[in-house]
Symmetry: C2
Subunit: 223 residues, 2 copies
DNA sequence: GTCCGATTTGACCAAATAGTCAAGATTCCG
DNA sequence: CGGAATCTTGACTATTTGGTCAAATCGGAC
């Protein structure tokens, strides 16, 4: 393992063999499988998950599931692929020409919303990275790395212009990742500590409020 | 300290059967096993780890390892047990009578030091919680919950006295957990983004500096 | 309806894995 | 040293798991 994902996934296009148009049933079942697999991989990681678990969750026999994705690895790649781009979008959206505090408020808010709406995706990455990022390692070292350095440069400029308190931009980005993904990744812990409170409407707004208050005050330039 | 996990672990004491004094070899080998198991469980989680992996890492045959811990579960319990108390100590050490900013600076610093010194322990918990905290769930719902609520009350008082900016204490605690554990749990990602920079002396001090700056400024009362 | 490719699955296999056991090796203590 | 208790391991078993296959069923274009 440890490849750029693109190559593997749509890997049947090669070799002159005309790729068949996917049928309606294929589209539906692949979607069902990816959804089930996301949930399973997000909870137990690649090695801790079984094809049977995924098949059961997808309400499908194991051979049928393997008809759509021939190997456990293929499912894993597909799920990661399916989720990766979305994950970067908010960071990409930071606009160097915008107002620093406003841009970062927006970034944090978007990340928190993603954690709330798709916690499984966050946990999927968390598991992959805990395992040492064997599959997305190359992706992290190339695309993510470039993106982070680009946006860090933007933030560094803002700091230089006195529009943000002096702070290391990369560590600021890490801090934002940490705080926003925490609500998805450590959901079980948060539920253990807060109980039913987590279910109450407005819980996520309250969390967002707290994170935004602390982080934005933390980087607002002091007079 | 007595914890929830006790019951399962040293379960042979009961039944009048006198527990033998552990021999020197036992003490050494159990230590070796726990160290190896921590590393393996921290990387792949309980389900993703194999007894063989642990045995290999402990430079020991599998049956020999199973002579010391009869089941995979037993090793897992023992490793968690071995690490749990340490993990709570810093939060417990927050002193209601101290200076708020100073107490929180100390708490953050201690947590960051623990992440740097024993990242595997942090990842072990991360894996356990991602899996839904099947083993330490009761612990989280009892001891951790109580402790968090106690310390949240302390922080709430500080806020009430105007010694901290108005912020939800529980979310502040979560934010501190998130940011401090991030450097251990997401080490692979951080290395991917920063490369060899992570190895340079002073990297952790720099991280600590950034986190402390942002968080402490974020909660310092505004005039 | 008919037919052909697409879909589904029961039965199966080989490898991996948790755990057992009895016999041999080592350590400890007098 | 000598013997008992402790420790170690090769060989083994039962179960789980990833993956295959051929045969049965289904769906849709004509």
């Amino acid at each position: 393992m440890g490849e750029v994902l693109d190559a593997k996934l749509d890997g049947e296009t090669e070799e002159g063999e005309a790729k068949r148009q996917p049928t309606r049933i294929q589209a539906i079942n692949r979607e069902i499988i990816l959804e089930a697999a996301l949930e399973v991989f997000a909870t137990h990681g690649f090695r801790g998950s079984t094809v049977d678990q995924i098949a059961t969750r997808a309400a499908m026999s194991k051979p049928n599931l393997l008809y759509y994705y021939r190997r456990k690895q293929d499912i894993y790649y597909a799920v990661l692929q399916h989720t990766l781009d979305d994950w970067l979008a908010p960071l990409e959206a930071i606009d160097a020409e915008g107002d620093p505090i406003e841009q970062l408020r927006r970034y944090i808010t978007l990340k928190l919303e993603m954690s709330a709406e798709n916690p499984a995706a966050s946990r999927l990455f968390a598991n992959e990275i805990l395992a040492g990022a064997p599959v997305i390692g190359d992706f992290l070292r190339s695309r993510l790395r470039t993106l982070v350095h680009d946006k860090a440069a933007v933030i560094r400029r803002w700091v230089g212009e006195g529009r943000l308190a002096p702070v290391d931009p990369v560590h600021l980005i890490f801090l934002i990742w940490a705080t926003t993904q925490h609500y998805a990744d450590f959901d079980a812990q948060i539920r253990a500590v807060l109980g039913s409170q987590v279910e109450q409407p407005g819980f996520y707004e309250q969390a967002a409020q707290a994170v935004l208050t602390i982080v934005l005050n933390g980087i607002r330039p002091r007079d």
